[in-house]
């Protein structure tokens, strides 16, 4: 971290830049879409909600703004923020820039839960509930097994346990897909696993917002300890930090936000892996600034991607595909121009 690049913005100015970018993204997202809604429609509709007076707009425009596009914009921001926050926490905790929120099996567990829900033809709420619980249970299992093994480097054991249990869950998903009805259930599972916010409605927001808020607050309160945690473990312990309970709290909080996001939007890779790097690039490694910046960038990025996903064609483009296709060239460009260490 000795060299700094010209792109680097110091202190809170980086944060201010990220907030400004997010606000612009939200406005674009509200006026862009298959159904035409102009900026003045949006202002009128919002004003009529605030003032309680009729807006004079067609009912379908209000439906689009408040029941379809609005919840979707909110959900995209929340999911993107959640994945970026969880990724930032995991990269700090595991002291490894290649770590993403699904390292300990949260995504695979959620996916297995959702696929089971589709297999048993459950309703939407039950499928999302199973996905959420599946993510929590998977990480709890990884954590329990990893902690029970007393040999060697604790972090390494935890990561390896996550990898093997993740592949076991992957096998479970494969088995359910194999058994599923190929005409009806299999396409539904495939779509779910590719990630989409197409079906978001107002009732989806609370189950997403609650866990994301709680997890993010916990991580933010632990920000100073997180900075110490990114030192080697013996140094952290020498500084008087109880690394065991702290690690548990961080994993629990990050898993909570990841599971809520996957339950709402399906599997979306890339955001949790790369956005933390962009945030570090903007505001540096201090966790207190890094976490909110990553949340804002992640939210803005996924919102932008989701806006594209629902506007460029009459049919939806899966988010998991778009995040990678658009994000990868951008990230490579950033790597090429930054000339600085990413650790």
């Amino acid at each position: 971290m000795t060299k700094t690049s010209g792109l680097r913005v110091s202190g809170w100015r980086g944060g201010a830049l990220a907030v400004a970018a997010l606000v612009v993204c939200v406005i674009i997202a509200f006026v862009a879409g298959r159904f035409p809604v102009s900026l003045s429609d949006l202002v009128h509709a919002l004003w009529s909600r605030l003032s309680g007076q009729p807006s004079g707009l067609p009912a379908s425009v209000e439906t689009v703004i408040f029941n379809i596009r609005g919840p979707r914009v909110v959900a995209a921001v929340l999911c993107g923020a959640a994945l970026a926050v969880a990724g930032t926490a995991f990269q700090g905790l595991f002291r490894n820039p290649l770590v993403s929120p699904d390292l300990l099996g949260a995504s695979s567990g959620s996916a297995l839960g959702a696929v089971l829900g589709i297999y048993f033809s459950l309703g939407i709420f039950a499928i999302q509930g199973l996905a959420f619980v599946g993510g929590l249970v998977a990480v709890a299992a990884v954590y329990a097994v990893g902690s029970a093994i007393r040999a060697g480097d604790k972090i390494l054991v935890l990561v390896l346990t996550g990898v093997v249990i993740g592949s076991l869950l992957g096998a479970g998903i494969g088995l359910i897909k194999y058994l599923a009805d190929p005409y009806n259930q299999l396409p539904a599972m495939t779509f779910w696993l590719l990630g989409s916010l197409a079906g978001t409605d107002p009732s989806d927001i609370l189950p997403l917002f609650g866990p994301v808020l709680v997890g993010t607050i916990v991580l933010f309160l632990l920000r100073w300890r997180m900075n110490v945690m990114s030192l080697p473990e013996d140094e952290a312990q020498a500084l008087g930090l109880a690394t065991g309970p702290l690690r548990f709290a961080i994993v629990a909080a990050a898993t909570l936000v990841t599971a809520a996001s996957v339950a709402a939007a399906g599997i979306i890779g890339w955001v949790g892996l790369v956005v933390p790097h962009l945030a570090r690039f903007l505001v540096g490694p201090d966790f207190g600034r890094l976490l909110p910046t990553a949340a804002i960038l992640g939210g803005g990025y996924l919102l932008l991607i989701d806006t594209l996903a629902r506007t460029i064609a009459p049919v939806e483009i899966p988010l998991g595909i778009l995040t990678a296709v658009i994000g990868t060239p951008f990230f490579i460009w950033l790597l090429a121009v930054s000339h600085r260490s990413w650790s």
Partner: protein, 335 residues
């Protein structure tokens, strides 16, 4: 080498037998007897069951108790034998040989992948493998071919004649409807109703055959997800769905109330017992769906009583005369 040798051993036995070209133009030996027929996938199982139930070796997946209620008590309850197409194979060839089939039948897409698959299985097992065209308009031709291959020409022709009659009747009636009078239909799948089938997709083959305008049909392809905004923009007058969760919820969903089909009560849940009337499996089960779709799309042109049509088709093809209560349950969408 081994494969060549086994073909040589088998050769004298089948040398006298006559051959036929299957739908892919492959020369298939007509087996001396066709008492044991192996279906490569669900559409083939249905084709064999309707034509020669006594020769069916089993279903790809077993039928559920609800489905069995509409089928022949013995043949409808046959066990699962797995699938034999592409990488989704769930049968192994040794199990297949143990069943001693006289003929393997596959109904579906006739393309390079399936042709080579058929050639390979035929060479490995020494059992003749016939590929039949699964497209809706080829159902009658496939019945005639299957009848000829299994020595059941008259039964094959009987079923083929029936299908041709239904298809011709529907086509003639629709021909009189002007292009701009054709109803605009959105086909909904998934519990949220936001999965649909694009133009030319096998899932909406019968809807498009019935002359309806598939609102998602401008883009060609298979299944895809769309946003509710897009559905509002299309504003279809009729929604056909196969999802009972969606059908139950859509009427009370404020976000959907802007869609014309929902306002006018034109959301229709497709019958699915014992096999779907609109979508899957892509086989003859969609034949009664033509009458059902006809009544929805062009009420004035299709005055037939669906109960009578259903009883006739089920008795003829499914070998089981349904009761009035069973037919009512089918027409309601769920039994």
């Amino acid at each position: 080498m081994l494969l060549g040798a086994s073909a040589l051993i088998a050769a004298p036995h089948i040398a006298r037998a006559a051959t036929l070209d299957d739908a892919a133009g492959r020369v298939v030996t007509i087996p001396a007897k066709a008492e044991r027929l192996f279906p490569a996938g669900p559409p083939a199982a249905l084709a064999i069951y309707t034509l020669a139930p006594e020769a069916l070796l089993g279903w790809t997946r077993g039928n559920s108790p609800q489905e069995r209620a509409y089928l022949h008590p013995e043949y409808g309850a046959l066990g699962p034998v797995g699938r034999l197409t592409g990488r989704g194979n769930t049968t192994n060839l040794e199990t297949l040989l143990q069943l001693k089939p006289d003929l393997i039948v596959d109904v579906g897409s006739v393309n390079r992948t399936y042709i080579e698959m058929a050639d390979r299985v035929q060479a490995q097992s020494g059992i003749p493998y016939a590929l039949l065209d699964g497209r809706f308009e080829r159902i009658a031709a496939s019945y005639r071919l299957l009848g000829a291959l299994t020595g059941r020409q008259s039964r094959g022709n009987e079923l083929a004649d029936y299908c041709e009659h239904v298809v011709r009747t529907c086509r003639d009636r629709i021909a009189s409807v002007a292009r701009d009078k054709r109803p605009r239909v959105y086909y909904a799948r998934g519990p949220r109703g936001l999965d649909t089938a694009l133009g030319g997709s096998i899932n909406v083959e019968t809807i498009e055959f019935m002359g309806a305008v598939n609102v998602a049909g401008e883009t060609k392809g298979g299944l895809a997800t769309v946003s509710l905004e897009q559905v509002l923009l299309w504003n279809p007058g009729i929604i056909i769905t196969i999802d009972d969760t969606f059908a139950a919820n859509v009427r009370n969903d404020p976000a959907w109330k802007g869609v014309k089909a929902v306002q006018s009560g034109n959301v229709h849940l497709s019958p699915t017992l014992p096999f779907g009337w609109v979508d899957f499996p892509p086989s003859v089960n969609r034949m009664p769906g033509l009458w059902w779709l006809g009544k929805i799309l062009y009420p004035a042109l299709f005055p037939e009583n669906l109960t009578a049509v259903t009883r006739d088709f089920y008795t003829r093809f499914y070998h089981h005369a349904p009761t009035d209560a069973q037919i009512a349950a089918v027409l309601e969408g769920r039994g």
